[in-house]
């Protein structure tokens, strides 16, 4: 073998089996070489020791990444849910460890995995597009079934004759001189650079559009990606509709529908007032007869009796239950037979039924206006029954009381 010294890059020995390679490694290691390596199709176990490879620092890189991942997960969840955009969900605290553990775990693993792969590639100097060994035909079998040992000329102990003798003594298949790679350019291929540049420029275009959209105003309506959600097939208020005889999409209310302000002009009827004063008479439209009284009794027993009691003594089942529980916040319902209520104008009683008073809610939205007056009528009858003067009773009743 004759070589120009300038061209030589190193010496390569080829072996058939992993055990032959491991035996050779020990000799090269003991000879004190530093810039050498072995090339194998699979990780040969025990070769680290034979070559004197020290434990890699990769686990520390991964540990650091894991801590960064954990910190990111804590920071992300704390900042977004406890600081920047607070809102209560299911009564859970804004910030608590248990609800946030799954994301801590996932991001810790994610960051660690990236560090493990990319840390390995960086420590291994990968990607490595070319190497002087690539030009040796025999070296193609390194990823198949052959085992190689390579000593670089750059090693301080390298001496062509000496090193050759050392390698020959390890029973290799062959020992080859490997030349410097002067054929492969150290520049990236021109088409590749050009393509990368074009892709980089094109990739910026969407961002340019976004930037433009954020910086400009328009009077055009927004873009509707899925039109059928924004423009649904239905008739809306005030639109024409040929299906109906009056040609309108809106329909008239059903007969009997109660509007809140059905008699806007009749203040006596709807508010129980005339000129701001509560009235002492029933409105003209309310007929005072047995039918109205019966309706009033019926409505009273549905809406009033639960609290005020069937006889109006303020002892309805709700009140009794509240007294039993004795919770301290209960305001007992008024007994309806009291004198001040007997003196109260019917308009004011109507107003209480309509709008409520103190703890009592208004029933205006649940009882039609005529029936509110019927309830007042029945109330008056109840009051009268409770404090009737003896002169108003029939003889039979007077007899019964004795």
């Amino acid at each position: 073998m004759s070589h120009h010294d300038d061209d030589l890059h190193g010496l390569l020995a080829e072996y058939e089996t992993p055990s032959a390679l491991v035996a050779a490694c020990k000799k090269v290691r003991d000879a004190g070489y530093a810039k050498w390596d072995t090339y194998t199709p699979f990780p040969v176990h025990g070769i680290e020791k034979a070559m004197g490879i020290r434990m890699t620092g990769l686990p520390w890189i991964v540990l650091a990444a894991a801590l960064v991942g954990l910190a990111s997960a804590v920071g992300l969840q704390w900042w977004t849910n406890a600081v920047d955009y607070k809102f209560i969900s299911s009564g859970k605290p804004m910030w608590s460890i248990p609800a946030n553990v799954p994301v801590y775990f996932e991001l810790t693993v994610l960051f660690s995995a990236f560090a493990a792969l990319f840390g390995m590639l960086i420590l291994n100097n990968l990607p490595e597009p070319s190497h002087p060994l690539d030009h040796l035909q025999a070296f193609g079998r390194v990823t198949d079934d052959r085992f190689f040992l390579y000593i670089e000329k750059g090693d301080a102990k390298f001496d062509l004759a000496e090193t050759q003798r050392l390698l020959d003594g390890t029973h290799p298949v062959t020992v080859d001189a490997v030349n410097e790679d002067r054929r492969t350019s150290d520049q990236l291929p021109k088409p590749l650079v050009l393509a990368a540049a074009v892709i980089a420029v094109v990739a910026l275009v969407p961002f340019a559009f976004i930037a433009k959209a954020r910086a400009t105003k328009t009077d055009k309506p927004k873009i509707h990606a899925m039109g059928d959600m924004d423009w649904q097939i239905k008739f809306q208020a005030q639109q024409p509709n040929p299906l109906f005889s009056n040609g309108m999409a809106m329909r008239a209310p059903e007969p009997g529908t109660v509007a809140m302000d059905e008699h806007p002009d009749d203040e006596h009827l709807t508010a129980g007032k005339v000129d701001g004063q509560f009235v002492r008479t029933f409105p003209a439209s309310v007929t005072i007869d047995d039918a109205t009284m019966a309706r009033g009794r019926d409505r009273y027993q549905v809406f009033c009796a639960p609290c005020h009691g069937v006889s109006g003594n303020g002892d309805g089942p709700v009140a009794q239950r509240a007294m039993t529980l004795a919770e301290g916040t209960w305001v007992p319902p008024t007994a309806l037979g009291q004198d001040y209520l007997r003196q109260m104008p019917v308009g004011q009683l109507y107003d209480v039924v309509n709008n409520g008073v103190r703890n009592m809610p208004g029933y205006g939205s649940q009882i039609p206006v005529d029936e509110r007056w019927a309830v007042v009528l029945y109330l008056r009858a109840l009051q009268k029954a409770k404090a009737a003067p003896v002169g108003e009773l029939t003889d039979a009743e007077r007899a019964a009381l004795k």
Binding site: L58, L76, N81, Y85, A99, P102, M226
Partner: protein, 456 residues
Amino acid sequence: MAMAQSPFDLAPQGENAFARITHNVARVAEVPKPPRGWYIAFGIALSLLSVFGVSIGWLFWQGIGIFGNMNPVFWAMPIVNFVFWVGIGHAGTLISAILYLLRQNWRTAINRFAEAMTIFAVICAGIFPGLHVGRPWLPYWMFPLPNQMSMWPQFRSPLEWDVFAVGTYFTVSTLFWYMGMIPDFGTFRDRSTTKLRKAIYGALAMGWRGPSRQWHRYERAYLILAALATPLVLSVHSVVSFDFATAQLPGWHATIFPPYFVAGAIFGGFAMVVTLAVPARQFFGLKRIITVGHLELMAKIILATGMMVGYAYSMEFFIAWYGGNDYEMFTFFNRALGPYAWSYWCMIFCNVVSPQVFWSKKMRTNPWVILGVGVLVNIGMWFERFVIVITSLSRDFLPSSWGYYKPTFWDFSLLAGSFGLFFTLFLLFCRYLPMVAMAEVKAFHPSAHGHGDEHH
């Protein structure tokens, strides 16, 4: 057979065991034409994939009204399909990571394509949540992206944990898979006969030439990734089970869910591995690498995990009774005897009864029996998710709000279409990527010992 001249029927060439392994695996990607079965399967897969495309297009155009989802079954087949595919995606990483840590060297024959299967299944799974949100232009709301509304995801919700768990799982599985393939890409590059193949596989191999100093760091990284992926694989289906377990619904609100879901995922995942492995080793002449012995070991795992799943089913009934909650008791009574009893008993037959044939050595060493059970278990595991989601939702607390859910044509076409996507990706993988981890198989070959006998 008519295909006797197929290159896959010829004995592998090479002067030693390592060369024969290389040849056996690499020829799958190197022969000018794959076997006829591959074309047939690919044709079917592409047809189903186009069904998927059409269904998604119609869904986006028309809205989620095309689903059968109704009141009270608001979560229906999209969630069933999501959980089904995520479950399938568990066997790959389990084989790669957990069996690696347990020094189960037989895994080397099947880990690569189990990993591929995992990734493709997670891709299928990931599509369904995106589809069922109903606003296909808004799924980015799931991610913590800064926006002018200052609107962030809600990290106290298990659905948000899902985004992180499934996203991390997909990413880590892909990294693990790619890293495992780097040395094999190097083999493909060195065997390339055309410039194009050399360029593509060369780029993927990133200049891997197998120096021992690199192998040392590579193995360390692989060990770390395996150690990371092991708890990850257990966490992912646990988090998926939280979607149900943290709800108050009878039949969902159970502490057994995380382990039960993980066991079911491993069970379903292994069933899918054997479903793919049996035809693949047949078509591509890999019977010497994926041996009947490997299939038998997987059948044993299917039997074991099937029993765990069966245990979970019976324990759910026991706890429903032991817990003394009327609604819980009704839910399980309703599962077994209610309007969806057919799906419940279908699940029991496929998941609990069918794997019992593996008690017989004759059955668990017959690839076609294994394939049959694998297919049944896949069906059973789909029904398991159907039973959990549909029976619980359709009859909960108030009888006045009960209903009967019926899937529509589009529900089924999306499920069928997702199989199209899965098989298309898988068949492309078989044809163009190293289907078996050659370097790992060689490393565990008897002749690979660095200080053993001179020759094999």
